[in-house]
């Protein structure tokens, strides 16, 4: 029974049977499914049950070498000489097939990642298809992108993606790279390779020439081997700042082009004149969307002091209606934490916050007995220097700070080593733009949060990384202009 409204929900589960998951998947190199060179495999779990879903190959340095070789041949023989029009048509095909298989991909994503079906269905999969469709249209008009008179592809791109938006990140990486005329070696995250594996079937159905996209599944050592490979002309990485640093240093004197999309600790700033109920929805979307496994999550709430009590009251009331549970249930607002390791990190940081003397409020929703779950949590009575305010938690945990003036809000918002995103809630346009000019962040949402679009550049300032994905800037990341 729901505490606030006295309403109950009947479970509305999506059927897992719409996706056929094989017992084991190989690497995809030069269009062929192959085992890893030493036959080693890893297992992917369903985080909502902790039950095994399938096994997949643990790619080695030798596998990476084969994949880069296949990508190089495909680049030189097929993809780079191909007309932009032809490349465009392949990418449009991929977008279309993804749309046709949308339901299957949404279920697969929720099974492997733990995110609610509502999100995989309405955000991840449609946006992934939209990215292919958007960049498809660039393939035959690169010289009109305004980047220079004769932009050239780079060659072979090594792309390493995270576990929070597995299919969407694959689309963000592959679509602009392919449109620009590069070939790819994609390395998905260790805990969520399923939709990338299924995407390879889509590419096959689209008859994308063999070797244009190669998939090397594995763990951190596989990614390291990819970065270290001398045959790579471009590295694109989305993940933690710590690994981003190591990649930048590892590339050293090599001329390899690099883009990094790293961590964040975004401020979501609410002024007293904001539409408060809308702001509450935005705060909830900002931090609890995708269990808070979002680099641009609004994890620091900055509230104008005069409305802090009122807003917190409304926020807690809204949080009490959140439903945490089965990712495949269409009623679910917050799904499963992706892995035991991530759950342990969230738990550790929250304990650190409590130890530092912060007060917590956790949503009073029941959590499933099986699986990795964490109740949406809010910290109050925290200081700017608290660990939970400074460190990226990457979970459904919000910290609340207050401010009195716009200047103070800017100062507190910018008091972080990151600079990926920020939110501003106010009905006063001139002040919103004044704030937007001063916030050191790559994406600023005003009266909304966590919105993404293939036409819109996304990426960070400072230690949130460099380079942009989306829009013309996302194309430039894969071109020599």
């Amino acid at each position: 029974m729901d505490a606030t409204f006295g309403l109950d929900y009947a479970a509305a589960p999506e059927s897992a049977s719409v996706v056929q998951i094989k017992a084991e998947y190989g690497l995809v190199i030069d269009g062929q499914q192959v085992p890893s060179s030493d036959g080693q495999t890893l297992e992917s779990l369903n985080p909502s049950t902790t039950q095994p879903l399938f096994r997949f190959a643990l790619g080695t340095a030798a596998d990476v070498d084969r994949a880069v070789g296949a990508a190089r041949r495909a680049y030189e023989d097929v993809w780079s000489p191909m007309s932009g029009t032809a490349r465009a048509k392949y990418l449009f095909r991929i977008a279309r097939i993804l749309q046709e298989r949308a339901r299957e991909f949404a279920v697969a994503e929720s099974l492997d990642n733990g995110k609610p079906i509502r999100e995989s269905r309405d955000v991840d999969v449609p946006l992934a298809a939209a990215h292919f469709a958007y960049y498809a249209g660039w393939a035959d008009k690169l010289s009109y992108a305004g980047l220079g008179p004769a932009p050239r592809s780079l060659g072979v791109a090594g792309q390493i993606i995270p576990w929070n938006f597995p299919l969407l990140m694959a689309a963000w990486k592959l679509a602009p790279a392919l449109a620009a005329g590069n070939t790819c070696v994609l390395k998905p995250a260790e805990t969520t390779p399923l939709t990338a594996l299924l995407l390879m079937e889509v590419l096959e159905q689209a008859e994308l020439p063999k070797g244009v996209v190669n998939l090397v599944t594995g763990d951190g050592t596989t990614g390291q081997a990819l970065v270290a490979h001398e045959g790579i002309d471009k590295v694109a990485f989305t993940g933690s700042t710590e690994v981003g640093r190591a990649i930048q240093a590892a590339l050293g004197a090599r001329g390899t082009k690099l883009t990094l999309e790293l961590g964040g600790k975004a401020a979501n700033i609410v002024f007293s004149d904001a539409a408060l109920d809308e702001a509450v929805e935005g705060i909830v979307d900002g931090i609890f969307f995708n269990q808070g496994h979002v680099c641009c999550a609004g994890s620091r709430l900055l509230v104008e002091e005069s409305i802090a009590d009122d807003l917190l009251e409304r926020l807690k009331r809204r949080m009490s209606t959140l439903r945490v549970g089965d990712p495949l249930d269409k009623n679910t607002d917050v799904g499963a934490i992706n892995s035991a390791a991530q759950l342990a990190r969230i738990t550790e940081l929250v304990a650190a916050g409590v130890a530092e003397g912060a007060s917590t409020y956790a949503a009073p929703c029941p959590l499933p007995e099986q699986g990795y779950y964490f109740a949406p949590t809010v910290f109050t009575d925290v200081s700017l220097s608290s660990r939970v305010v400074q460190e990226e938690i990457f979970g459904p945990v919000l910290s609340v700070l207050t401010f009195r003036t716009p200047e103070e809000a800017v100062q507190k918002a910018n008091n972080t080593l990151y600079g990926l995103s920020a939110g501003i809630w106010s009905e006063k346009g001139s002040r919103t733009l004044w704030m937007a000019q001063r916030l050191r962040a790559g994406v600023i949402w005003s009266n909304t949060f966590n919105k993404f679009d293939p036409t819109s550049p996304f990426g960070g300032y400072r230690e949130s990384g460099f380079g942009r994905e989306g829009g013309i800037a996302g194309l430039e990341a894969y071109l020599d202009v």
């Binding site: 240093a249 004197a253 909304t448 202009v481």
Partner: protein
């Protein structure tokens, strides 16, 4: 019988925070011309000088970016005016530093002036070619604007003492950044003469800091400084690149790779102009 005229020799110092101080270390090093003849004792900048310059640059950048784009354009154009007025002097200094003929040196100075004019004009146009609105699928007005990365450390070209320096520094300034430059170690005089051009061009103090000294001392300090947002390795010797990149990676500092020696003759394009910019995208709801 009249006495021979004794010329007044110039004491070269650092250009830091809009002033011309000696190195806090009190050190200097001997600079010679292309034939090995003594030219001057230049200040040998220290690690502390680099840190002071970064602090000055942080302040200068805020002021520089708070000015209008049209104003930044005219300030850089003013620098071109001042350089034009001192063309003969610069021709002599470039000849002395690089060992080229007077004719070649004059052409290099002319090209340097043209480059300043070129980038001056970009100040109020960059946002128009790299920014714009994004046709997103939803009721939002979404626009993107380029902003400066912040404080940029520059390893100036070692050979091309004036044209190389201006080709690297001008686009970074045009994009709204401030710089701390380690000048050409062996050929620093044209850079320090250029400091006088900047000092009389209404450029806010600290926007451009020029430090003479040993690259081996200045470059690692710049690369590892946590308040340096970008690093242009234009003139970095090959063996220094990997360690400098590794130092820069500690704070995800944006790095530009060493320049090709032939680059300065080419059409400068927009590559250097956009190298140290950050795109900011703003979404705003549309509704009644």
């Amino acid at each position: 019988m009249s006495e021979p005229t004794v010329s007044v020799l110039k004491t070269y110092k650092l250009f830091l925070g809009g002033a011309f101080p000696r190195s806090e270390s009190g050190r200097s090093y001997e600079v010679v011309d292309h034939e090995g003849r003594f030219v001057a004792n230049c200040a040998q900048g220290s690690r502390k000088d680099v840190r002071d310059a970064v602090q000055a640059a942080r302040k200068g950048q805020e002021q520089w970016w708070s000015q209008t784009a049209a104003n930044r354009c005219l300030v850089l154009y003013r620098a071109a005016e001042m350089l034009e007025g001192r063309k003969a002097t610069f021709t002599e200094h470039v000849t002395q530093a690089e060992g080229v003929s007077a004719e070649t040196a004059r052409a290099l100075v002319t090209k340097s002036i043209d480059r300043l004019v070129y980038y001056a004009g970009w100040c109020d146009k960059l946002a128009q070619i790299r920014g714009g609105s994004n046709p997103v699928a939803g009721p939002y007005f979404t626009f993107t604007v380029p902003e400066p990365t912040g404080v940029i450390g520059v390893i100036a070209p070692q050979e091309s003492s004036l044209l190389g320096l201006i080709s690297v520094v001008a686009p970074i300034l045009a994009a709204g950044n401030a710089v701390v430059v380690a000048t050409s170690e062996q050929r620093p005089i044209p850079a320090m003469e250029f400091a006088e051009v900047l000092a009389t061009s209404d450029l806010p103090a600290g926007v451009c800091n020029l430090l003479t000294g040993r690259l081996g001392e200045l470059a690692p300090t710049l690369a590892s400084h946590h308040d340096v947002d970008g690093l242009d390795l234009a003139g970095a010797p090959q063996e220094m690149v990997a360690p400098l990149v590794a130092a820069a990676s500690a704070t995800i500092t944006r790095v530009q790779r060493p320049a090709l020696a032939t680059e300065w003759d080419d059409d400068p394009g927009t590559k250097r102009l956009t190298a140290f910019t950050e795109l900011k995208t703003v979404w705003h709801t549309i509704g009644r």
